[in-house]
Amino acid sequence: MIHEIYLLGGSVVLLMVPCYLAGSWFVHRGGGVARFGPATQALAGALLLAAVLSNLAAAGLSHEHVLVVRWALIIGAVPWSIWMRSRHVDKTSLMGLHASSLCVMAVFGLVLWVPLMLAASGPPVRYDAVAIWWPKLREVAAGLAPVLENGPGHLHAEYPRGLAWLITGMADELRSFGDLTGASGADLLRRTSWLFTWLGAAALYEAGRSRGNSLGGFLAGLLLALLPATALWAHSGYADPAIAGAVLLAGLGLTLRRQGQGGRGLAVVAALGAASIKQEGAVLVVVVAGLLLVDSVRCKHVRFTALAGLAAFALLLPWALRRGAEDAEVLGSLGEVLLDPMRLTERVVAVARAVGLFLTDRGALVEDAFHPPVFWAGWVLGAGLLVLLPRGRSEIDARPALVLLAAIVAIYVVTPFDLHWHLRTAFPRLLLQALPLVLLAAVHRITAPAARVEASSEVP
């Protein structure tokens, strides 16, 4: 057992360290990510690496040069971090490695221990991991140019390669993992899902601690780590834990921004990282850009109007971007849906019905007779939304998760594609992407010291 802990724990630390170092770029004179802790910093670094490396490769930089840039990002961040911390950040911790954060990460690591063992014990078997994410990793690791045409099956060849570049970079220093085009790549794919899940749970604690609510943050992180759905997705090899981390980080960045402590870069890189990993991450880019824009408007009423405009914008932009790629038939049927009130109503009712079924029958929406336990996560998310709905805003900015949820459900409704397919496959994952940030904001709202809540409620 001790040997297993040593091997598996050691590999996780090795996976985390470069991400942590790259995240040092987000330490600045306002504090930035240093206000949180190592897990948040590593999360930020992972998304930064995914965004930068995949986009450089897409721009035509060679495989070797991309990896050189990666090393430059990691090594260059160290003197930057030391300089910033020595001048602007309090020196209560060494390189931001708060002892309490490390302890909490160890606790969450134990809670998520079995998924880590499973990640290391066998191949990925979830369809998306094998058919969508693994081939991209093999393509990047083999140094091949991306081919965007889809073959038979549901392969999403057009998805960005951010996750593949992140893992390829990790393996660059973990030579013992061997050939990434083979089973070693699959192994790392599953461990990366776990890494994002683990960092996300620990980031909840760090966010709570940074707001003076350590216990609330710890309970939020523990609840997230204990949910069956989290344990399932932690070893799935899917990209959704990474998207969930990006949504969480965007919320934390906007929270810092709201309090005049920087955070814009954090939010933007989180969104770009999400967009570099999965197509639907592009919606997060639009959401974060819009929220930054809206927050810059001082007048409250103008701000709400701008928010409404943003909602419409968020709805239409992806379609405007895809106009060139889709055939005329799809766009024609889109207009048909938008102009047909009955059809639109039918789809809205179908979503409401699906949500109802989802919350009462834990197998209602899944594509297989076996039931992924997203059911409990749905209830926790619903409770979190109920806590956040009443007037007065939360101290933690949950808008990226809320707007993302609303925007993607709206896209489900107005686009002509099979609604039930969305609801059975993507919708449960969408809930999990929004869950960490909603959970953090809700738990903090109902457990933060009363005076603090009242003060934040008064802020327009």
Binding site: P123, P152, P228, G356, D361, H371, L386, P390, T447
Partner: protein, 321 residues
């Protein structure tokens, strides 16, 4: 944002909706299915939906073969080990019974197919699924009432939230203001304890956990070995045997074909076989290996079948679709 908790009228609206939905609910009922393992084999029983025609299907998940074994309510079926439905008897006497509520899976025209599934298995690799399914004309047999319950539950939660927030501090007059967040702490702790209890109490099947269909338990069960090689479990019993046999045949220079069953995991299994056999599957294209390669998903082996396991068949010669 509008304060919805200030509007208890929502409760009235929701109650009215619930009554409406319930009143519109066509006759139907709960479909209850149980599967148990006994010395005689897997026994499956279902009840509910009196008067409706219900088919009871029994099959092994891996082969995807299902056989209609009974019609009519209250059917009790025993499938003995060693029948065509089971490639091999279950290894241990341990069994698992799970009762699930009915699922409205999909609509076919005017009908909704409602299905309940239960599993019986040992702790290693074999999973036997028993499902009862029926087609209810004019659908909505089950979920209408459930949707109404959800609406009422949401409304009651909203009302309770409003009440606790507005009246709670006065009601708990002895609670000093600094502890006004007691209800919040209480709710969070209850949720954490419930989640912990859920994970401790859960006893998932290893086969389902390895295949990514079920959440893993909180701690590694003593009955699960620690070999850290779950390939045989994850990809089906006999996967490793099939792989080794295919490697041996290939090393002898014989053209061989591996045919993976065309069930839900066929493509996954096929890709893993291709990868492990070193078959040239372009990294850009996952899934079904194109013609000319030795790994097939679906179809039938053409030549002499050398080995058949739950993960597929190995044939000398070729394969055809």
């Amino acid at each position: 944002m509008t304060d919805l908790t200030r509007r208890p009228v929502l409760t009235l609206v929701a109650s009215a909706l619930f009554l409406l939905v319930t009143a519109c609910r066509p006759p139907g009922g709960e479909l209850d299915l149980a599967v148990e393992r006994g010395p005689a084999g897997i026994a499956a029983t279902y009840s509910g939906f009196d008067g409706a025609k219900v088919g009871l299907l029994v099959g092994r998940r891996w082969t995807g073969r299902e056989q209609l074994v009974g019609m009519g309510p209250g059917v009790h079926v025993v499938v003995p080990p060693g029948t065509s439905l089971q490639a091999r008897p279950l290894a241990t006497d341990r069994s698992r019974t799970e009762r699930l509520g009915p699922k409205a899976l999909q609509r076919h025209g005017d009908a909704t197919v409602v299905q309940a599934v239960a599993f019986g298995s040992d702790d290693t690799a074999d999973v036997v699924a028993v499902s009862a399914a029926l087609s209810v004309a004019d659908g909505e047999a089950v979920d209408g009432g459930r949707l109404g319950l959800v609406i009422v539950a949401v409304a009651l939660t909203l009302w309770a939230g409003w009440w606790v927030r507005r009246r709670g501090p006065q009601w708990l007059a002895r609670v000093p203001p600094r502890n006004a967040g007691f209800a919040g702490w209480f709710a969070v702790v209850v949720l954490v304890v419930a989640a912990l209890a859920l994970r401790i109490a859960a006893t998932p099947l290893r086969a389902l956990v390895e295949r990514g269909f079920e959440a893993p338990p909180l701690t590694w069960p003593d009955t699960w070995d620690r070999d850290l090689d779950g390939r045989d479990i994850a990809l089906g019993p006999g996967f490793n045997r099939l792989l080794e046999a295919a490697r041996a045949e290939r090393d002898e220079g014989e053209p061989v074909a591996v045919v993976a069953p065309a069930d839900g995991l066929g493509m996954v299994r096929g890709l893993h076989l291709s990868q492990a056999l070193g078959v040239e599957v372009t990294p850009r294209v996952a899934g079904v290996a194109p013609e000319g390669l030795v790994v097939w998903v679906g179809g039938a082996p053409d030549g002499e079948v050398l080995l058949t396991t739950g993960a597929g068949s190995l044939a000398r010669g070729g394969a055809s679709r």
